[in-house]
C-alpha cells in the first residue's frame, strides 16, 4: 500500500482516537467514508462501474468472450480478474512497481469468487463441454486513498451486476453446431449477483480495529484481516495480512464486526444498484466530469 509519512505523535493521536471510537475525520470505527458508485460509464464494455470511496478511485470494465471451458469444470464458464495499478495513482506504481499489490488484490478476488454458491458459473455455460462465456474483469486503480480491497470488490460487484451478455441461440444442424449471437441490445442475459461477496478490510489499530482505514490509519496498522462476506453473513475468503500478529480473541471480534459490516454493505450496495437501474435513462450521468 502507498505509504504516508507519519510522526510518532500523530500515530499516538490516531491510536487514542480509535480507542474512543472517534477517528480523525469524525467517523466511528464501523463507518465507511463517502462512497459514490456509478455503472455503465464505458460504452465498449459489456458492463462497467466506477467507485469513488473518498480519495480512492477504481474503474472496472467487464468484457465477455466466448471460449472453451477448463477441463475440470466442463459445464461452467470462467471469470478472470486482472488488476492494473496505473501510474496515475502514485509514481511508485510506474513500470512494475504496482505488480505486488495488483497480484494481492486479484488473488483475493479469485478466492472470494471461487465459491459455487456466490457466483454461479453455470449461467455462463453455452454448450456444455465445448463453449462457454469467459468474463474478463479488468480493474484499473486510478487513485489510491486507502482501503483498496473494499473499493475494488464493490466496483467489481457493481460492474458484474451491470454486465449484459448477449443471448446466444444454439442450433444443431446435422451434427454441426451453430451459434447465433443476438444483435438486439435489449435481448441480453443479466448475471445473478445476489449472493456474491464484498470484501471488508479490518485494520487493527492499537487494541481496537477499524473498518475502511484511511491512508494515515493504514500507516498505524500492523495487521489487517481481509474477509469476503456475502449478504447472508457467510465468509467466502479470509486472509490476514501484515507483519504483526493477532490474538485469537481479537480475530473473533474483528470477524464479528466484519460480518456485521459486510452484511449491511452488501444490502446497501444492492439497494443502490437497484435504484440506479430503476432510474434507467432518466438517471443523471456524472461520468468523469465534476
Amino acid at each position: 500500500m502507498v505509504d504516508v509519512q507519519l510522526s510518532d505523535a500523530e500515530k499516538v493521536f490516531i491510536l487514542h482516537g480509535v480507542q474512543d471510537n472517534c477517528r480523525e475525520d469524525g467517523r466511528g470505527c464501523e463507518d465507511y467514508r463517502h462512497l459514490e458508485i456509478e455503472t455503465s460509464v464505458m460504452s465498449n464494455t459489456n458492463g462497467s462501474a466506477r467507485v469513488r470511496l473518498a480519495n480512492t478511485d477504481i474503474l472496472v470494465g467487464v468484457k465477455a468472450e466466448l471460449g472453451t471451458p477448463s477441463p475440470e469444470k466442463l459445464n461452467k464458464g470462467r471469470i478472470e480478474f486482472f488488476v492494473d495499478c496505473s501510474a496515475n495513482a502514485t509514481p511508485e506504481f510506474e513500470g512494475r512497481g504496482g505488480e505486488d499489490l495488483a497480484t494481492d488484490i486479484s488473488n483475493m478476488l479469485y478466492r472470494a469468487y471461487d465459491c459455487p454458491n456466490c457466483f454461479d458459473l453455470q449461467q455462463l455455460c453455452v454448450i456444455p463441454d465445448q463453449q462457454c462465456w469467459i468474463l474478463y474483469v479488468d480493474i484499473l486503480l486510478l487513485e489510491c486513498g486507502g482501503n483498496l480491497f473494499d473499493a475494488t470488490s464493490l466496483a467489481v460487484k457493481a460492474a458484474l451486476f451491470n454486465t449484459s451478455i448477449p443471448t446466444v441461440t444454439v442450433t444443431k444442424d446435422e451434427g454441426v453446431v451453430d451459434l447465433e449471437i443476438s444483435d438486439d441490445p435489449y435481448d441480453v442475459q443479466r448475471l445473478d449477483m445476489k449472493s456474491s461477496p464484498c470484501i471488508v478490510t479490518l485494520s487493527k489499530v492499537g487494541h481496537s480495529h477499524v473498518v475502511d482505514a484511511s491512508q494515515k490509519e493504514e500507516c498505524c496498522t500492523l495487521a489487517r484481516l481481509i474477509m469476503g462476506v456475502t449478504e447472508k453473513g457467510t465468509i467466502t475468503a479470509l486472509k490476514k495480512e501484515g507483519s504483526g500478529s493477532l490474538d485469537p480473541t481479537s480475530i473473533e471480534d474483528m470477524m464479528e464486526t466484519g460480518r456485521r459490516v459486510g452484511e449491511s454493505l452488501n444490502k446497501c450496495l444492492m439497494d443502490a444498484l437497484a435504484e440506479e437501474e430503476r432510474q434507467g435513462t432518466k438517471k443523471k450521468s456524472l461520468g468523469f466530469l465534476r
Binding site: 477441463p71 497480484t103 493477532l246 480475530i251
Partner: protein
Amino acid sequence: MPTDSRRLTGPEETKSPYAYVKQKKKLQVLTGKRHDGRSPETLRPIFLKADVVSQARGSAYIEQDNTKVMCAVYGPREVGRKEDFSMKGIINCVFKYATFSCRYRRSYQQDSEEKDMSVQLLDALEPAVCMHKFPKAQVDIYVTVLQNDGSALAAAITCASVALANAGVDMYDLVAGCSVRIADNLVLVDPTESEEYKSQDDNPVNHGSVTLGYMPSLYQVSAITSKGEIEFEVIKKAINLCGNTSQTLYPVLQKCLNNSRFSLSLRFSLSLVRYHFCVQF
C-alpha cells in the same frame, strides 16, 4: 527456479489424463471415518529434522505422512535490490511446488497460486522474527514442496520456522502451522489431498478449509487464510481447533531443534529419528 524470459515457448497442447477420468464417488470423509483410519481431530505422524542442507545457513525437512516439504534459509545477507532505506531487515519468502509434486504437473515457474502462498508464508513468519536485529540485510527463505498430499502450506510454515531457528535468526517465537477442512458439521484436522477443499466440486455452504499459523509461546495467531463459503460460527470453531492443535505441535518443534543441537556438538553422524506424534482429544 530459474525463469527463462528469453525463450518463447510454443503453446503446450498436452493435457493431463486425469481431466478425462470420471470423478470417483466423493468423500466418504463426510461420514467421519477417514480413509487412512484417523479420527477427525488427529494429526498425521510428523517427521521433522533440522540442518539437512549443508550449504544453507539453516534448513529443515518435514514429512507429514505423504506431504514432504523442504526449507532452506540464507542470510542475513545484503539486500538484493535497491530498497527504500529502512532500519529493519527484510524477509523474502519463495514458495514453490516441485513440478512433479502434485497430481497435475506444475509449471517450473511460480504461478499465481504459489505467489499467493509465498505472501501468506511471509505474513506467517514476519511477526515471529526480530527484524530489528539485522538492519539493512535480508533473509531469504526458500520452501520447496517435494510431494503434496494436502496441508502443504501448514507444513511449510512449521518447516520454515524450524529452519529459521536453525539458522540462528533471532525470533520471538516459533510458528506452528495447522490446517483443517470443513465439511458441513464435520471439521477434519490435517486433511490429505483427497480430503482437501476444491472449488470445482459442487459444494454447498459450509465447505471450505482454514489454515492457521500459530505462535505457541506467545498465544498469538500470525497467519490465517480460508477458502470456501463458511458460516461464521463454524469458522470460529475451526480457528480454535487449529490453535489448540498447533499448541500440541510445540513439543515436536522443540525436540527437533534440541536434537539438532546435540548432534552438532557431539559430532555424531546425523541419524534419523522418527517421531510418531498422534494427538487424541
